[in-house]
Symmetry: D3
Subunit: 136 residues, 6 copies
């Protein structure tokens, strides 16, 4: 049950069509997932979000593609975003993630959940050794 309606013929709007064409070209695929279909209810918002995603995920990078998807999925899990969890887990698989790597990813994410709660509960001082400003 969505808070907006999925537009029926989104590409009749030339601004939407331009974004959809760019998605297809950037990804080398005809598949346009629901996010973009629903965002088409407002061409300006669609352009803003696509611009952002393309700038970060499709540009030349200092991190390998699977690592980028794992970072994205890790944040999405902590924020309980079901849609994002599914898209970025699938993308990580598409970029080579094995079942063993996925299991290890889940073990790290859940361990972080554990120590995050422990340390937020204890509220102890951060060791000065971790202050990056000291080092420059």
């Amino acid at each position: 049950m969505s808070t907006i309606s999925r537009p029926q013929n989104p590409e009749s709007n030339p601004r939407v069509k331009a974004v959809f064409d760019d998605i297809r070209a950037t990804r080398g695929s005809d598949f346009i997932n629901n996010l973009w279909h629903y965002l088409a209810f407002d061409a300006s918002l669609l352009e803003t979000i696509w611009h952002d995603v393309k700038a970060v995920m499709a540009k030349p990078s200092h991190l390998d593609p699977m690592t980028k998807e794992l970072i994205y999925a890790a944040v999405s899990i902590a924020n309980s975003c079901d849609y994002c969890i599914h898209t970025h887990t699938a993308a990580a698989r598409g970029k080579g993630m094995t079942d063993e790597q996925y299991a290890e990813f889940l073990s790290i994410v859940s361990l972080a959940g554990r120590t995050n709660h422990l340390l937020n509960g204890m509220n102890i001082p951060i060791d000065p050794e971790f202050n990056h400003e000291n080092e420059s």
Copy 2:
């Protein structure tokens, strides 16, 4: 300001000493950060948490060490755990993260924060193409 007191001579408790010795041996360093010093108020809790961290972070792995720290840090940011953010950002640097990689990491984490909020707001259906159960 902490919710517990930092024990004065934690290693006078042999169970604590055994854990501290294992931390030093596992990490190849004499530095014991505050987390373990404060956890020493309860030997059983200290053992449980160290067991968990060692099992996940120090075992043979299907992911490279820097990627593991980035996943850990990503969750910690989403959970606002200042202590964890500092320790795992420092650990990622210790495992080779450059400033360019850190900047890219921050761009991915913050983009995930953006689309997580967008999609939680819209609540759209997950495309059946992302259902991993279909594929097995």
Copy 3:
């Protein structure tokens, strides 16, 4: 799948009936949404929550009604509360929100998600210029 059962004839309890009557009178509508039906499993909890909601949302106000719903929906998105997102997005529409305003609302909420993650990751000092205590 709920953690409690929806009571069958809630208004047979006079305390529940009194709250339902007040909801209808306050809102000028016969529609009682699921929240209140389920809360009727415990008359005391129902009274507490309705008292709270009425005190904040139905009293004379220094903010316009649509703005109040947008603030409510923004928090609900950050907390991943699907039920609350739907009720308060619908309420904002009922108080005049256009599709253009909704798109802009989503762009602000998601941008906040982005910079919240960025700044929680960087953990930089707050500029003294933002300290309201300085100004009094």
Copy 4:
């Protein structure tokens, strides 16, 4: 660094004085903690929040006082509310919590953090056995 200024003579406002008097009487103590001092910038908000807290925490109860504080502290940890963590951990100690119980509390809260992240990541179906609606 606060977003509001701490009022200088809050009890010169009779509405504030009435709330402060009720806090002292309810708690049997002259200590008024910072929350109430700062909230005194707006008598209406002060009354609303005190009304809420008193209704839940000071009324005759089906749960023992220490358990109530532990539930409160658990939520506060998950929400990263430092002020609330400190007040409700201290309150739990004031109601009899031992160090052993606090250590066990932290082990449960952090384990929940772990499995919450694991299950939000996996997104598996809830077993029908857990549906309370089936049972009525």
Copy 5:
């Protein structure tokens, strides 16, 4: 819709069978809920998580069993983990929670949500009276 597939004959793997046998023995029940069935996709992850849960929830304890489940459920609510909310609410009922106690639990959890947001918004200083380190 899950991110992993539920293994068909998990107990054909002896490591999985050993964990399932231990779950049945520890709980005194033949029912194995979905969490463990899905985790069986990776025996190592299954062992890690079961080890953690057993160590915390099934050991001799300084807190009563229902209180432990309420703490677990409270964190799960704050983290929006639907699966965990259902399992631990059901477990609390199984350990004696009445409807009156559940209503009171919900009133505390939701009040904590309220003051957590209020105090995170105001960002006021923690009273030195709450500093446990002062007391030792």
Copy 6:
């Protein structure tokens, strides 16, 4: 304690200087707050984030400026981002927010925190009346 060092002469980098000049021109002020100073450690990240903020907060709008800041601050509170809470609360004051409006804002944000937790705990079905897709 930050995870990055504040660059000493950021405007010696022409890409940084171009962004800083645009911030000054857009805001009509010489004040550059810490966020931008620290982000200057990576010109590309600085450009990305400033582009995003400018696109949303400084463009012609369907919402009034104070409402936009309140929505931003509401999300920041729910995400425990201290820096963001301070900047956007100060910005709301700069755009006319009175103390009465701020108190009402806090009452709404904290009430949302309350009902978000309540409804995430109960997990009740969303009324079909709130389905916007039905209406198109």
